[in-house]
C-alpha cells in the first residue's frame, strides 16, 4: 500500500499535462516540440506511477487496493470511489504503457496540429485509466463514455481519406450501445439504491429484471469489444485512424468491453450470464471463424489486423463466459497479451506506412533484405499473434480454450480451428511482405528501423516473450480476484435458484437460444 492517492494522481497527471500544453505559446514549430515533450514526459511519469503501483500491489488478496472514497453527489449517494484489484491492475498498466508508446510513435508522423493531438492523447489516457479504476458505476460510465470525445477527434482530424465516415460510425455505434448501459445503470441504482460497484456486486437483483439488465450491459460491452455482428465499426475506425489511434484502439479501448463483462455482467447478473452463456459462446465462435476467414482475404494490412483483433476478442468472450478459473484467467491474459501484440502490430504497419504511404500488402515484399531488424520484430509479434508457445499469445488462447473444453466441447473444438486460421492469415501477411521477391524499387529502398523505432519495439517485443515464458507474473496477481469472482458468480447462481423456486414463474427462461443454434 502507499500513503498518497496514487490512483487520483494517475488520473490528474495527464490532465495537468494537457492543461499545460494548452498554455504553450510561440511559433508553430516550438509549440509542436514543447507539446510533444510535455506529453511524453507526462505519459512516462504516469507509467512510472503505474509501475510503482504494480510493485506495491499485494497479490495475495482479492480486495480492492489503493482505495479512495470521497463524496461526489452526496444528495444522490454517488461517490468518487477508486480502487484496483487483480482484474483491473494490468489494464491500468497497459493503458499507462501504451500512451507513451503512442506519443513516441507519432513523433514524426503527425505534422499538423501537434498541440491538439497531444492534448487529445493525454485526455484519452485519463479516461482509459479512469474506466479501469472507477468503483462507482456512474464514475465508470463517465470515463467509459468520455473516451469517445478524444477518440472521435483523433480519428476525424488526423485520420485517412474516409476519416469522417469512420469517426461518425465509431462514435454513434458506441454511443448507441452505451446509452442503453446508462439506462440499465439507472435501473440498478433505483433497485439497489446505490451505484457503488462492490455493493452492487454484493446485492444482485433477481429474476427477469436481471435478464433485461444483462442485455443492456451486453449491448454496450459487445459493441466496445467488439463482438460479431456489431464489429463492423472496427475495421473502418482502424483503417482510417492514425497509427497511434489504432494502437490505443486495439490496445486498450477494446479491452473496456471485456473488463465490463468481468466487472459487471458476471458478478452482478450471474443467472443471466449463465443463461446467456451459450449465446455468447456461439457469437464468439462465429467471430473467431468468420473474421479469421475475412482476415485471410484482406489486401490492406490494417484491415487484416483489425479483423484478427475481432477474432482474438472472440477467445476472450469465450473464456470469460465459461466462468471457470482457466477460462477467465485466459480471457484476462489474452486481453493483456493482445493489447501488447496488436498494438505493436499496428506500429509495424505504421513503420511501413511512414515510409511508403500505403498499406496495401502487394506493394511490399522481400523486406527481410533491406530491413532485417524490422523483420525480426515483426516475426516475434506475428508468432505471438498466432499463439506460438513461448509467446504471450499462446497462454491466453490456451487457457481460454482449456476453460471452453470444460464447459462445451463442440464450441471449444470449433474455436480451436480459429487458431489454425490465425496462423494462416498471419503467416500469409508475413510471407507476402517480408519474404519473396523485392518487386518494387521504392519498397526495396526503405531504410531499416531507426533508434526511435527500436526504442518503441524492443520493450513490447520483450514483454511478449517474458510474459509468454513466465505467465505467472500476471496470473499470480490476477488469481485471487478471479477466484473471488467465480465465488460471487456461483453464490449468485445458488441464491438465484432458491428465489427462483420460491416465487415460481418469476424467472422464466426464454430467449434467443433457439435462434442461434
Amino acid at each position: 500500500m502507499v500513503d498518497f492517492p496514487i490512483l487520483s494522481l494517475m488520473l490528474a497527471l495527464p490532465l495537468i499535462g494537457a492543461l499545460f500544453i494548452v498554455t504553450i505559446r510561440g511559433d508553430e514549430e516550438s509549440v509542436a516540440r514543447n507539446a510533444k515533450y510535455t506529453a511524453f514526459y507526462c505519459a512516462v511519469f504516469t507509467l512510472a506511477l503505474a509501475l510503482y503501483m504494480l510493485a506495491r500491489f499485494d497479490g495475495g488478496t482479492a480486495d480492492f487496493q489503493f482505495v479512495e472514497h470521497y463524496a461526489w453527489f452526496p444528495s444522490l449517494d454517488i461517490a468518487y470511489h477508486l480502487g484496483v484489484d487483480g482484474i483491473s491492475l494490468f489494464f491500468v498498466v497497459l493503458s499507462a504503457l501504451l500512451t507513451p508508446v503512442c506519443i513516441l510513435a507519432s513523433w514524426n508522423g503527425i505534422k499538423k496540429r501537434v498541440k491538439e493531438y497531444m492534448i487529445a492523447f493525454l485526455i484519452l489516457e485519463t479516461m482509459m485509466i479512469g474506466t479501469f479504476i472507477a468503483l462507482d458505476a456512474v464514475l465508470f460510465y463517465v470515463f467509459f463514455e468520455g473516451v469517445l470525445i478524444p477518440m472521435f477527434i483523433i480519428i476525424g482530424v488526423w485520420g485517412g481519406p474516409r476519416r469522417v465516415y469512420a469517426a461518425f460510425k465509431f462514435f454513434l455505434y458506441t454511443l448507441l450501445g452505451s446509452v442503453l448501459l446508462l439506462l440499465a445503470l439507472l435501473t440498478l441504482y433505483f433497485q439497489v439504491g446505490t451505484t457503488d460497484i462492490p455493493t452492487l456486486i454484493a446485492n444482485p437483483v433477481a429474476g427477469t429484471l436481471q435478464m433485461w439488465l444483462w442485455v443492456a450491459f451486453f449491448a454496450a460491452f459487445a459493441v466496445k469489444m467488439p463482438m460479431w455482428p456489431v464489429h463492423t465499426w472496427l475495421p473502418d475506425a482502424h483503417v482510417e485512424a492514425p497509427t497511434a489511434g489504432s494502437v490505443i484502439l486495439a490496445g486498450v479501448l477494446l479491452k473496456m468491453g471485456g473488463y465490463g463483462f468481468l466487472r459487471f455482467s458476471l458478478p452482478m447478473f450471474p443467472e443471466a450470464s449463465a443463461y446467456f452463456a451459450d449465446f455468447v459462446f456461439w457469437l464468439s465462435v462465429i467471430a473467431i471463424i468468420y473474421t479469421s476467414l475475412v482476415a485471410l482475404v484482406q489486401d490492406d494490412m490494417k484491415k487484416l489486423i483489425a479483423y484478427s483483433s475481432v477474432a482474438h476478442m472472440g477467445f476472450v468472450t469465450l473464456g470469460i463466459f465459461t466462468a471457470t478459473v482457466a477460462g477467465i484467467q485466459g480471457g484476462i491474459f489474452q486481453m493483456i497479451s493482445h493489447g501488447i501484440i496488436s498494438g505493436a502490430l499496428f506500429l509495424i504497419v505504421g513503420v511501413l506506412y511512414d515510409r511508403l504511404h500505403t498499406r496495401e500488402i502487394a506493394r511490399y515484399g522481400g523486406l527481410v533484405k533491406n530491413m532485417p531488424k524490422f523483420a525480426v520484430m515483426f516475426m516475434i509479434l506475428m508468432l505471438g499473434s498466432v499463439g506460438l508457445p513461448g509467446t504471450s499469445g499462446f497462454v491466453g488462447e490456451f487457457l481460454s480454450l482449456l476453460g471452453a473444453f470444460q464447459v462445451n466441447m463442440l464450441v471449444a473444438l470449433l474455436a480451436t480451428t480459429g487458431v489454425v486460421l490465425g496462423a494462416a492469415y498471419m503467416l500469409r501477411l508475413y510471407r507476402l511482405t517480408v519474404f519473396g521477391e523485392q518487386k518494387h524499387q521504392d519498397a526495396a529502398a526503405m531504410p531499416d528501423l531507426d533508434k526511435r523505432e527500436l526504442v518503441l519495439f524492443v520493450p513490447l517485443v520483450a514483454l511478449v516473450i517474458i510474459i509468454g515464458i513466465f505467465p505467472n507474473l500476471i496470473l499470480d496477481r490476477v488469481g485471487p480476484s478471479v477466484d473471488r469472482l467465480i465465488m460471487q458468480y456461483e453464490a449468485g447462481l445458488e441464491s438465484g435458484l432458491e428465489t427462483g423456486q420460491k416465487s415460481d414463474g418469476v424467472f422464466v427462461p426464454r430467449g434467443p437460444q433457439e435462434g442461434v443454434e
Binding site: G146, G156, L176, L182
Partner: protein, 484 residues
C-alpha cells in the same frame, strides 16, 4: 390584509422596481434618441442586476399577496434569479450586435426588460388572470422584438408568424381558463386545488379546460406538436433576439407550467401525465429527426431546443420532487449551453455580416481556434457526453424517469439523444475536419467573451461540484411540494 401596507407590496418589489425603471428608461430613450442605445442598454443591464439583488434580498418563505393573485416562495426566487441572469447575458452580448446590424433602436433594451417583467409576473402568478397578464406582457414584448428589424423581410415574417400563432395559443389558453372557471368556479390556484380535492368525479369540462391550458403553455415552450413556429422564428429574427428567445422564456414557461400542474391541477396528475408524456416523446423525436436535415445553425438550434424541452418534460412527467429538481437542473444547464452557443454565434462574422449557415463554419478550428473549441465543447455537452455538464442533466432526467417507472420514455430519450448526437457532431465535423474558408472577422467583443467563458467554465467544471446546483434545485422544487 387589504390596506396598502409595505408588507403587502414587498413580495412584488422586484417587479414593481422593474416596471417603474422600464418607464423611466423609456422616457430617457425618447429624450436621448437612438444614438444613446449603448448607454441605455448598459443601464438596462444594471437595472436588471439590481432587480436580481432585490429578488435575492427578499424573504423566500411562501408569501401570498395581492388578494391571492401573487405568490413568492423558494421556487419563484430560484427561477427568477436564473431568468434575470439569462436576460442580462442575452442583453449584454447583443448590444454591440445591434450597432453592427444597424438596428440600434432605444426600444430594444426596454422591450427586453418588459419581457423580463412579464416573465417574472408569470412565474409569481397564483391566479389564472395574473398568469395571463404576465404571459401577454412577455409575449407582446417578444413579438415586437422578433420584428424589430422591420425593413427585413424574414424578420417581419418571423414577427407576424410568431404573433399570429402566439395569439392563437393565448386564445386557447383563455378558452381553457374560462372552461376551468365555468366547471370549477374558481381562477385562483388554491381555490381550484381545493375545489378539485372536494370532487368525487372530475367533470369532463374541467379536463377539457386543462387540455386547452396545456396547449397554450406547450406553445410557449415549443413542445411538439405546437412547435411549428420555432424554426421560422429562430431563423428569421435577428440573432441577438433569437438568443433571447432560446435562453430565457423557455425557463419561465417551464416554471409556470410546473406550478400549474402541481398546484391547481395536482389532483389531476394521472390525467395530465398522459398529455405531458406525449408532448415529451413527440418533442424528443421531432427535435432529433428534424434537426438532422438542417443547414442553418439557427434552425438547428431551434430543433435542438424542441428536443431539449422534451427531455426537460420527462422530469415533469415523473412528477416527484427530485424529478422536478432534475427538470430545473436540466433547464439551467441547457440555458447555459445555449447562451454559450449564441455568444459564439454572435461573434462569428465574415465581411461584416453574421454567418448562420453551418457550411460557413468549415475549418473554423484553423481560422478561429478558440471559438471552435468552445463551440465543440458546447456541442459535445449538448449531445450529452460525459464528463461535460450536458451529460449530468440527461443523467438526472433519466434517473427520475426510471425511478418513477417511465421506462419507455427513458428508452425513447436515450435513443433520440443518439440521433441528435449526429447533428451536434456534424457541426464539430464541419469546424474541425473540413478545409477552412477565409478567416472570420476579428472583433473585440468583451461581453460575449465573458458569457462564452462563463458558459465553458460551467460546462467543464460542473463535474467537480455537481451537488451545488442539484441541491438548490431540489430545494427550490420542494416549496411546490410542501404547499401542495
Amino acid at each position: 390584509m387589504s390596506e396598502l401596507s409595505l408588507a403587502y407590496i414587498m413580495p412584488a418589489l422586484p417587479e414593481i422596481f422593474l416596471a417603474l425603471a422600464s418607464m423611466a428608461l423609456l422616457i430617457c430613450g425618447v429624450l436621448m434618441g437612438n444614438r444613446q442605445t449603448f448607454t441605455l442598454g448598459w443601464l438596462t443591464v444594471i437595472t436588471l442586476a439590481v432587480a436580481g439583488l432585490l429578488v435575492l434580498g427578499l424573504d423566500w418563505t411562501r408569501t401570498v399577496t395581492f388578494n391571492g393573485l401573487f405568490v413568492i416562495d423558494g421556487f419563484t426566487a430560484y427561477v427568477k434569479m436564473f431568468v434575470i441572469l439569462g436576460l442580462i447575458a442575452s442583453l449584454a452580448m447583443s448590444i454591440r450586435y445591434l450597432y453592427q446590424e444597424q438596428m440600434a433602436r432605444f426600444e430594444y433594451p426596454v422591450l427586453v426588460m418588459l419581457a423580463g417583467l412579464g416573465m417574472m409576473i408569470m412565474i409569481s402568478s397564483n391566479h389564472m388572470l395574473t398568469l395571463y397578464l404576465g404571459l401577454e406582457l412577455q409575449s407582446l414584448a417578444l413579438y415586437v422584438l422578433a420584428a424589430i428589424r422591420r425593413n427585413h423581410a424574414r424578420a417581419a415574417e418571423a414577427g407576424i408568424k410568431y404573433f399570429i400563432l402566439g395569439a392563437l395559443a393565448s386564445g386557447m389558453l383563455l378558452f381553457g381558463m374560462s372552461l376551468v372557471y365555468g366547471f370549477g368556479g374558481a381562477l385562483g390556484f388554491e381555490a381550484i386545488a381545493a375545489h378539485l380535492d372536494g370532487l368525487e368525479s372530475v367533470p369532463a369540462g374541467l379536463v377539457v379546460g386543462l387540455v386547452f391550458i396545456l396547449v397554450g403553455m406547450a406553445f410557449k415552450i415549443s413542445a411538439v406538436p405546437f412547435h411549428m413556429w420555432t424554426p421560422d422564428v429562430y431563423q428569421g429574427a435577428p440573432t441577438s433576439v433569437t438568443a433571447l428567445f432560446a435562453i430565457v422564456p423557455k425557463l419561465a414557461g417551464m416554471a409556470i407550467l410546473i406550478r400549474l400542474l402541481f398546484e391547481p391541477f395536482g389532483a389531476l396528475t394521472a390525467d395530465w401525465q398522459q398529455i405531458i408524456w406525449v408532448l415529451a416523446a413527440g418533442s424528443m423525436i421531432v427535435g432529433a429527426f428534424a434537426g438532422l436535415v438542417q443547414g442553418n445553425i439557427k434552425r438547428l438550434l431551434a430543433y435542438s431546443s424542441i428536443g431539449n424541452m422534451g427531455y426537460a418534460l420527462i422530469g415533469v412527467v415523473a412528477a416527484t420532487q427530485s424529478a422536478i429538481g432534475a427538470t430545473l437542473v436540466y433547464m439551467i444547464i441547457y440555458m447555459v449551453m445555449t447562451a454559450g452557443a449564441f455568444a459564439a454565434l454572435l461573434m462569428l462574422r465574415r465581411d461584416g455580416r453574421g454567418i448562420s449557415d453551418i457550411a460557413d463554419f468549415s475549418g473554423l478550428s484553423k481560422t478561429n481556434p478558440v471559438l471552435a473549441y468552445a463551440l465543440a465543447a458546447i456541442m459535445f455537452s449538448m449531445s450529452g457526453i460525459p464528463p461535460l455538464a450536458g451529460f449530468f442533466g440527461k443523467f438526472l432526467i433519466f434517473q427520475a424517469a426510471v425511478a418513477s417507472g417511465f421506462y419507455v420514455l427513458a428508452v425513447i430519450g436515450v435513443l433520440t439523444s443518439v440521433v441528435a448526437a449526429y447533428y451536434y457532431l456534424k457541426i464539430i465535423k464541419v469546424m474541425f475536419f473540413d478545409e477552412p474558408q477565409e478567416s472570420c472577422d476579428k472583433i473585440a467583443a468583451f461581453s460575449k467573451r465573458i458569457v462564452l467563458l462563463c458558459a465553458i467554465l460551467f460546462i467543464m467544471l460542473f463535474i467537480f461540484w455537481p451537488d451545488v446546483l442539484i441541491e438548490t434545485s431540489v430545494a427550490a422544487a420542494s416549496s411546490l411540494f410542501v404547499a401542495g
